[in-house]
Amino acid sequence: MLEIQGVAKTFNSGTPNEVRSLRGVHLELAAGSWVIIIGTNGSGKSTLLNAVAGTFLVDEGTIRLAGREVTRWPEHARAELIGRVFQNPFSGTSPSLTIEENLSLAALRGRGRGLGWGLKQSLVSRMRDEVSRLNMGLENRLENAIGSLSGGQRQALTLLMATWLRPELLLLDEHTAALDPKSADLVIALTEQVVARDQLTTLMVTHSMHQAASLGDRLIMMHRGQIIHDFQGAEKRRLRPDDLLARFEEVRRAEQLDESAAQMLAEQYI
């Protein structure tokens, strides 16, 4: 479904602020799989998601999605295949538009937009059904501006918008990190529902070890722009949050070792 091959990206290349965010990432996702990405800060996990979404074009490597080579496609063209939910609850909705207007924009994701009337009766009644399933009482407030809603409500709506038309790939970028625990649980429950219902191929970045252990059928761990662990099948199911923390600790120690070794070498030879 998704094939990422040898993808590399360097930001600010040639300047003192050069950051090699992705260094040759290989990843293949089977259709219907739900892959969790974890990693330290700056490990490139969000960058990988953005590379797939087309926020920037990669320096090297190819990205194929649903049988199509999308490496050079601009962001808005890839939206035809991809549904996204962002970390910031304010990023996924248009605050001054109403709930129904936002949803009607999502109902045409990746399609041409002409002078057709945006809020057809059939569409609005489907909206009422879908929104009432969120159990947030929003179905009677479809004409309210989204800017007046809470972060959790907006994130739930963003998830609904991202999956309104079944996407070939769903990208979730720490989509509960900015929410209070209760809203986060709710949004995670909704995510599980919709992914299971539509059998969505999903790539999800998270900071929560609990989510990483309990969700998905495969987990990859990134460090310094590369994938350093890939747990699948039974191995993934056995993983507990503590195991993941232990892996992080390993990475940290290796890092320290690297640094102290480098320092020793520097002292001896320079």
Binding site: H76, A79, F86, T93, S94, S104, R113, G114, L115, W117
Partner: protein, 309 residues
């Protein structure tokens, strides 16, 4: 009374300008200076066409189209060539000065002996009134010419305002509004935001040029200098309109913008009557917009200070 009617008429005409500024500044948050040039562009195109015998309605529509082209140029400079939005507008506005002179062939085109929307609406009204030249309006004696002009302009503004409202609620119009609101989201939903901005700035300048075309027909001439300061004028109207209606619902803000334009023109007429020199008008307008931009910040700070105390 005829002064009041004249004030309303100009207020309505300039409300189209205000709607144009509303689209660029408020919907797209795009500070578009092109408007100063496209007011004149609309006037120049319409006046020149009418002098050559084109019907006033066609000439006004052509002005709208010319304004759209000018706006599309600004939008393209901004999106394709990554030139700063203000500078894009300044570049197009400056080049429009020469273009307008070319279109008109001179710095001023009089329309006194030409068929315009003004003369046409007067003819229709005189026919309706069976030859009377004045009519009784709630006890006031009003010349048919003035009243018919106001009615015609009011009709045009109502029509274009309604069209704008309907357009902004189509799939395309909603995508445009969302582009100004949240670019990240609209890209993720598959909309080419650059195209939306080009199109939006084009429509904005279409409105502005139409306003210029009507203004030329009302005052009876097109002049190469008539656009100076129009952006600030439009912005003042938008700000007053927002203060008047107070909500951010689409329909009410459009109505508010029109009301703001009329009210602002009314305030200006009163000030001029009280002896304000017309030379100071642009200075006062700029000061007004300055205050309108500063006061909310000032109030917020004050409220914060009170909250902290």
């Amino acid at each position: 009374m005829s002064l009041l009617i004249g004030t309303f008429t100009i207020g309505f005409i300039l409300s189209l300008l205000a709607l144009g500024v509303f689209i660029s500044f408020r919907i797209f948050a795009f500070p578009d200076i092109t408007a100063d040039g496209s007011v004149t562009l609309g006037a120049a195109v319409a006046a020149t066409l009418m002098v050559h015998g084109t019907s006033p309605i066609l000439a006004s529509l052509a002005a709208f189209g010319a304004g759209m082209i000018a706006g599309a140029c600004t939008g393209t400079l901004y999106t394709r060539f990554k030139i700063n939005s203000l500078l894009s507008g300044i570049l197009v506005m400056t080049s429009l000065y020469s273009i307008n002179l070319h279109i008109m062939g001179q710095s001023n085109v009089p329309l006194l002996s030409v068929t315009t929307l003004a003369t046409q609406s007067e003819q229709v009204a005189v026919k309706l009134m069976k030859g009377a030249t004045t009519l009784d309006l709630a006890g006031w004696e009003v010349s048919v010419r003035d009243a018919s002009l106001l009615a015609a302009v009011g009709l045009v503004v109502t029509l274009t305002g309604a069209l704008l409202y309907l357009f902004l609620r189509t799939n395309l119009g909603m995508a445009m509004r969302a582009t100004g609101d949240n670019v990240q989201m609209i890209r993720a939903l598959g909309v080419n935001d650059g195209n939306m901005i080009v199109f939006g700035v084009a429509i904005s300048n279409g409105f502005v040029a139409l306003s210029g075309a009507l203004l030329a027909q009302y005052q009876g001439f097109a002049d190469v200098g008539m656009g100076i300061g129009m952006v600030v004028w439009g912005l003042a109207s938008v700000i007053i309109g927002e203060a008047l209606v107070g909500t951010n619902q689409l329909g009410t803000t459009i109505v508010g913008t029109v009301m703001g334009s009329v009210l602002f023109r009314l305030l200006v007429a009163v000030a001029l009557r009280w002896g304000l020199s017309p030379n100071d008008l642009k200075l006062i307008t700029a000061l007004f917009v300055f205050c309108a931009l500063i006061v909310p910040q000032f109030l917020r700070k004050k409220r914060l200070r009170i909250a902290h105390a």
